[in-house]
């Protein structure tokens, strides 16, 4: 991992197959967010209005890969970001959405759209605008190289702060007892 220089770092964030819980937790770093804003500048993020990710120092990904769109966004982040961070259980191991993995997608789709009344009028939506779901939900490290993982559902604001400050000061990020959590 490259050592980051002491200029304002560009950070982008996104939520793939996640619940925004991790982003909420990110905001949970509270007043430290002001310190953070001294050090970083946000690119594409639910916190900004930028739609396309530009070249960045750090990319933070919440959520796993559930559909084609998730994969495209992730690949774009990987291309643009020097350091990629998997934030939260879903990004780290697929999380709750991956609990569908033991069911064949075909069964899920027909159960949801064909068998149960009310939804989809008995047909599976096939609008090309809609991203197709993947056969299984995957954590992001199975598709791109991930540099840093912050586990937790969601990770605490403290854990996120610890990793970011470690990173900003050039240390290898680590979480001790109490900060490292998978739940």
């Amino acid at each position: 991992m490259e050592v980051l220089e002491k200029k304002k770092l560009k950070v982008a964030t996104t939520s793939l197959a996640g619940c925004f819980g991790c982003h909420m937790s990110f905001l949970d770093i509270d007043e430290r967010l002001f310190d953070l804003v001294q050090l970083v500048e946000f690119d594409r993020s639910p916190l900004t209005d930028i739609k396309e990710v530009g070249e960045c120092d750090i990319g933070i990904i919440e959520g796993g890969l559930c559909n084609a769109e998730n994969v495209h966004v992730l690949l774009e982040f990987r291309r643009q970001c020097k350091i990629l961070i998997a934030l939260g259980a879903c990004a780290v191991n697929g999380g709750l959405p991956a609990q569908r993995n033991h069911l064949p997608l075909t069964d899920i789709l027909s159960e949801v759209y064909l068998s149960s009344p009310g939804l989809g009028n008995g047909m599976i939506p096939n609008d090309p605008e809609l991203p197709l779901p993947l056969n299984q939900v995957h954590p992001i490290h199975e598709v791109v190289k991930v540099d840093i993982f912050i586990p937790g559902c969601p990770p605490s604001g403290d854990a996120i702060w610890k990793v970011l400050t470690d990173l900003l000061s050039g240390r290898n990020p680590s979480l001790g007892h109490g900060l490292i959590h998978y739940d």
Binding site: A68, S110, P128, N135, K145
Partner: protein, 623 residues
């Protein structure tokens, strides 16, 4: 199954839970599979919980708790079979029979799948039908098999020549060349012992230890030690020390010492024990009897791999004759108290059961999981009794040593590797088969003898052994250079050594017993990575992962299987690196799975096939 025949099987096996697996085998031979009714009956009859019965049975590839069809066809899947075209042959058979590999046909008639090496590498490609080996399979034979399956011709009416198994011995030395007279080893040893000591001591049973003057057993042990005999099963442990440790191990009340012959011969590419048991069974059984004499054992087992089940009747015949000739049973060759007999235990397709402590677990009717050691089998083996486990060839050599003396034997071979070694040669050569050489023969000499041309590499001692490259062909087969359990697989320059290693990694993943974490999970991870490289998705990241797994397997595994599971990969990486580099097609990290394939079910369900319903070349190398 009629309760009567279950009754008689139970009776044959003393109604003992330790014989559970043999009972299950016999039931299955009658009924085709182990039905819930059988499990229930055995639960009562043997007083073993059903979960234990199911747990043990399901460990073994050849025991079935589900129906498997009237014809169960298993293609031997060693790299040598593959080089002989086994994959295309299997596909052909599946197409002809309208079955998917690994699945029972809808009418319940037939299933077709693969199995680990069946030990017919010199006459492959080979397959098993209901456990019987069919050798030299080609397209014509496949078509004929398909016809008979469809017409439901009973196996007994299939052409006998299909089932013919040849010895293919191309070079004989002291062992394969001897015309060993049954009993001659025992008598020669007996003659060598001063008569006075024998009579006095042997009025006591063998098992009562070795009071002063019991010269017979001591003489045998001395000869074996003097001969410098080392085990032929791979590890090369000094046989004399093993026997002595067993003999010296204390016996608790009611205990016996046990002699076990390891005929599991599961290491792919090895088939010499098959030939020894086919044509030199007397020498093997005599070696076991001599071992029993030396250590003071009264009970012996031959653990015969399931793939060699067809040898059972022949071997039982030899044992019966030896009993008639007083070479087994009570007071063998008239030595009072010299009592010993041998039972044959048939295995069921589990390579790990060749590992001696797993073998003992299996003998006891359990899952073939290697034990924690110490204690070692020589003190706590079969049912916790002092036990020696030796390879088939080791026992045959012991018989020769009794016959001709340790001094004669130790002068053959090299200083650290006395005697001869039987090599099972297969692969790219004109004359595959058995070659017996004195230890110290070079790889090049063996290649010359078997008519190998343009050889790129030789896999010595099977997947868990060594990949030897051309620049090393002057290295020698012996414990001090290249030790071997006997396999000698030849690969010429047209072969892809990466595929060789990948085949071996699949073998280990299939045969891992699953007991310890590093091997259970690690072999599967390694297999997946090798497949990823094979599928053209490899990157240097994957290569790093492979190296990491190699290390974990080697350092943390519980038994020899896990320790050596990475050997073929380590060796081929070191010696055939280009075969890997050419597969690291991507410089950047590549996804663990095929992205486009991951949309297949959604495409199928939505009927979409537009550009957005696919992944283009976007992933992969583009930075």
């Amino acid at each position: 199954m009629s309760s009567g025949s279950l009754e008689s099987i139970l009776c044959k096996y003393d109604g003992s839970p330790h014989n559970l697996l043999q009972i299950l085998r016999e039931v299955q031979e009658e009924e085709g599979w182990i039905t819930p009714a059988t499990v229930a009956a055995l639960e009562t009859a043997l007083a073993v919980p059903r979960a234990k019965i199911e747990g043990a049975a399901s460990f073994y590839s050849f025991l079935h708790l589900q129906p498997v069809g009237r014809y169960r066809i298993l293609f031997s899947d060693n790299i040598i079979d593959r080089m002989g075209g086994s994959q295309a042959l299997m596909e052909r058979l599946c197409n002809l029979l309208w079955v998917e590999p690994g699945k029972l046909s809808e009418d319940g008639l037939v299933s077709v799948t693969t199995t680990s090496c069946t030990g017919m590498c010199d006459q492959g490609p080979a397959l098993l039908v209901n456990g019987r080996a069919i050798t030299r399979v080609d397209e014509a034979r496949i078509d004929a098999i398909a016809e008979r399956v469809r017409a439901q011709v009973p196996l007994a009416e299939w052409p006998g020549e299909w089932f013919q198994v040849e010895d293919n011995v191309h070079r004989r030395d002291i062992l394969l060349g001897s015309d060993f007279e049954p009993g001659s080893g025992l008598r020669a040893l007996h003659a060598r012992v001063e008569t006075d000591g024998i009579q006095a001591s042997n009025t006591r049973s063998w098992r009562e230890g070795l009071p002063r003057g019991l010269v017979g057993p001591a003489t045998m042990l001395d000869e074996i030690k003097h001969a410098n005999l080392r085990g032929r099963g791979g590890a090369g442990f000094t046989t004399g020390l093993k026997w002595e440790a067993c003999r010296n191990a204390p016996l608790a009340d009611g205990q016996d010492r046990i002699v076990v012959c390891n005929a599991d011969e599961g290491e792919p590419g090895t088939f010499k024990d098959r030939v020894l048991l086919t044509s030199h069974a007397d020498m093997v059984f005599e070696g076991m009897t001599l071992a029993a004499y030396a250590v003071g054992a009264r009970r012996g087992f031959l653990y015969l791999r399931g793939e060699y089940r067809y040898l059972l009747e022949h071997l039982e015949g030899v044992l019966a004759r030896r009993r008639r000739d007083n070479l087994l049973g009570h007071s063998i060759i008239g030595i009072p108290g010299a009592d010993f007999d041998i039972k044959i235990h048939v295995g069921f397709g589990a390579y790990v059961c060749g590992e001696e402590s797993a073998l003992i677990e299996s003998l006891e009717g359990k899952r073939g999981t290697p034990r924690n050691r110490p204690p070692f089998p020589v003190t706590h083996g079969y049912l916790d009794q002092p036990t020696i486990v030796n390879n088939v060839e080791t026992f045959a050599a012991a018989a020769l040593i009794a016959l001709n003396g340790g001094e004669w034997y130790k002068n053959i071979g090299t200083s650290h590797s006395a005697g001869s070694k039987i090599l099972s040669v297969s692969g790219d050569c004109e004359r595959p088969g058995l070659y017996e050489f004195p230890f110290g023969v070079s790889v090049a000499e063996v290649l010359e003898a078997c008519g190998a041309k343009d050889t790129q590499a030789v896999q010595v001692s099977g997947p868990s052994g060594f990949t030897i490259a051309a620049h090393e062909f002057d290295r020698k087969i012996c414990f001090e250079d290249i030790p071997t359990a006997g396999a000698f697989m030849v690969f010429d320059k047209t072969r892809d050594m990466f595929q060789v290693a990948r085949n071996f990694v699949h073998f280990f993943a299939h045969e891992s017993c699953g007991f310890c974490t590093p091997c259970r999970v690690g072999t599967s991870l390694l297999r997946n990575l090798m497949d990823k490289l094979h599928n053209g998705q490899g990157s240097p990241y994957d290569f790093e992962e492979i190296e990491k797994l190699n290390h974990i397997l080697q350092a943390m595994s519980h038994c020899g299987l896990g320790h050596s599971a990475c050997n073929p990969v380590l060796d081929t990486i070191e010696k055939f690196r280009p075969a890997y580099d050419s597969r690291l097609l991507h410089q950047q990290f590549t996804p663990a799975f095929d992205l486009d394939q991951a949309l297949s079910q959604a495409r199928q369900m939505t009927g979409r096939d537009d550009e957005l319903a696919h992944f283009g070349a976007e992933h992969g190398d583009k930075q």
